[in-house]
């Protein structure tokens, strides 16, 4: 089953093309990493999938619903954790979670909030204003808010950017647990290591197109044979990424 199906997706801002025909598909229960450098269009793609932006062309479906034709159905199936933590600084952590639970018509809002606080190690800080939280705590609260009511598809836009190594490991653990529970996860990242650690499938977004996609093993096969001499050393995704981009530029040049 396909949870997210993107075909020929195009989007431009004021005449500048950001996505020029993006294709990828995410299966149910999979962790899918959209990898790209600054300005590659990751946030744009995620915002289209979360119905915040309208695509200029192509199609995007979430759980079978087209984002343009059935945005209400799409919103019922997803939750978005944006690139920058979107929590209410004036409310406490608990109040933030209760707010989302009420908006999602969760019957036991208080209990849901308490459970998520516990799960994300925020119980001690639960009744402090979120504005006083550290960056890592805010991010954890932000992700917890996205998990209220267990949406089947979760979008995480650069969930670990700005976190220290410990915070990053915590988020990784959370993502793995979520996927273990059957949730489909589409995450974006600039960290090649992150994609390598977490993702079942990886797609590399570069200059508005998916230039490579597949499992880590499949991507490793794309590693240019010119470097076969280093075969004892496993290539990192970073090397693959740079190699593919380099190759791409070469072919364009020819």
């Amino acid at each position: 089953m396909t949870a997210v199906d993107v075909r020929g997706l195009r989007k431009s801002f004021k005449g500048v093309s950001v996505l020029c025909g993006v294709d990828f598909a995410v299966s149910r229960g999979e962790i899918f990493a959209l990898l790209g450098s600054n300005g590659a269009g990751k946030t744009t793609a995620v915002n289209i999938l979360s119905t915040l932006l309208r695509p200029d062309g192509g199609s995007a479906r979430v759980c079978g619903f087209d984002v343009s034709d059935r945005p209400d159905e799409v919103r019922k199936s997803i939750s978005l954790t944006g690139q920058f933590a979107a929590v209410d600084d004036i409310l406490t952590g608990r109040e933030n979670l209760i707010l989302i639970a009420k908006l999602r018509d969760v019957a036991a809002a208080k209990q849901t909030a308490a459970e998520l606080l516990e799960r994300f190690g925020l119980t001690d800080a639960a009744d402090r204003r979120a504005g006083t939280y550290s960056g890592g705590m805010k991010r954890r609260l932000d992700i917890a808010m996205s998990l209220v009511d267990d949406p089947p598809v979760v979008f995480l836009d650069e969930p670990t950017t700005g976190l220290d190594p410990e915070g990053r490991l915590e988020v990784w653990k959370t993502v793995k647990e979520l996927a273990g529970g059957g949730t489909t996860i589409l995450l974006t990242t600039q960290y090649l290591e992150e994609a390598e650690q977490l993702a079942d499938k990886i797609a590399i977004l570069h200059e508005g197109r998916i230039i490579a996609s597949g499992t880590l093993d499949e991507l490793k096969k794309l590693f240019p044979p010119a470097k076969v001499e280093y075969v004892e050393k496993q290539p990192t995704l970073e090397e693959i990424f740079l190699a593919i981009i380099g190759k791409n530029i070469e072919t364009e040049g020819n």
Binding site: S50, S79, L80, G82, F84, D88, L99, K102, R104
Partner: protein, 250 residues
């Protein structure tokens, strides 16, 4: 108000109750101006008014409108904050009616400005404000102040949605704050130079002020009330149209 708008309204009211200074700050400048008009210029101005006019009563409607004119800049400011923090995007990606996030701000603007207005009425009492208005007149006063707030709230929503900085979201209200000075709110228009007088007599503040003054003194408001209502409704409709267009794009 549907259920979700109510939840979002509760959220914003919490913001206000946790920083009550927003209501007090909004009330303080108009109160200071009221003290100045009543205790500094009041004696001189009263001399040119028909005898028996209570100047505290006379200038109060202008002060109330001034407070609303500045109060709505907080509405723009709060909306900008919600856009900036990503909270708006979060709400818009959730299965709730999209406009709920906007209406919550509108209702909060209405309630918080009415609180400010109530504070100013209370301050005016010991200064000598007295009203012979009956229940119907008081209801009309409340209705006109609410309609005026609503109209200006929709004006404020526009910069709240399109501004690129917090300052940009709220500067639009500065000229509005001075608008009552160029009306019949504090002094009769007869002694003003022709151009200023023409502006003062034809701008919305004057008809609204005259209407509120008549209602509070339990005098017939005549035609002014219809002009005042037409101004409020007109501003509300035009601003609503542009605000909704901006919201569709946001």
């Amino acid at each position: 108000m549907n259920g979700k708008t109510g939840v979002l309204f509760g959220r914003l009211m919490r913001h206000i109750l946790r920083s009550p200074d927003t209501i007090i700050t909004v009330a303080i400048t108009p109160i200071a101006i009221m003290l100045m008009f009543v205790y500094v210029f009041g004696g001189a101005i009263t001399a040119s008014l028909p005898s028996g006019v209570n100047y505290v009563n006379y200038q109060l409607p202008g002060i109330l409108l001034m407070a609303i004119n500045s109060g709505i800049s907080y509405t723009a400011f709060r909306m900008f904050g919600d856009r900036q923090s990503g909270i708006f995007s979060r709400f818009h990606s959730m299965p709730i009616r999209r406009s709920s996030a906007l209406w919550a701000h509108v209702f909060v603007s209405l309630v918080s400005n009415m609180l400010t207005v109530a504070i100013i009425f209370l301050v005016a009492l010991p200064m000598g404000f007295r009203s012979s208005a009956g229940i119907l007149e008081w209801l009309s006063v409340a209705g006109i102040l609410a309609l005026f707030t609503l109209a200006l709230t929709w004006v404020a929503v526009i910069p709240g949605l399109v501004a690129k900085s917090a300052e940009g979201a709220s500067v639009f209200s500065y000229p509005l704050i001075f608008l009552p000075m160029f009306s019949s709110a504090f002094a009769p228009t007869e002694t003003m130079p022709a151009a200023v007088r023409w502006f003062a007599e034809n701008q919305p503040i004057t008809s609204i002020v005259e209407t509120l003054r008549s209602l509070l003194n339990a005098e017939p408001a005549g035609n002014e009330i219809w002009i005042a209502l037409a101004w409020c409704a007109g501003i509300a409709l035009v601003a609503y149209f542009f605000a909704m267009r901006a919201y569709g794009r946001a």
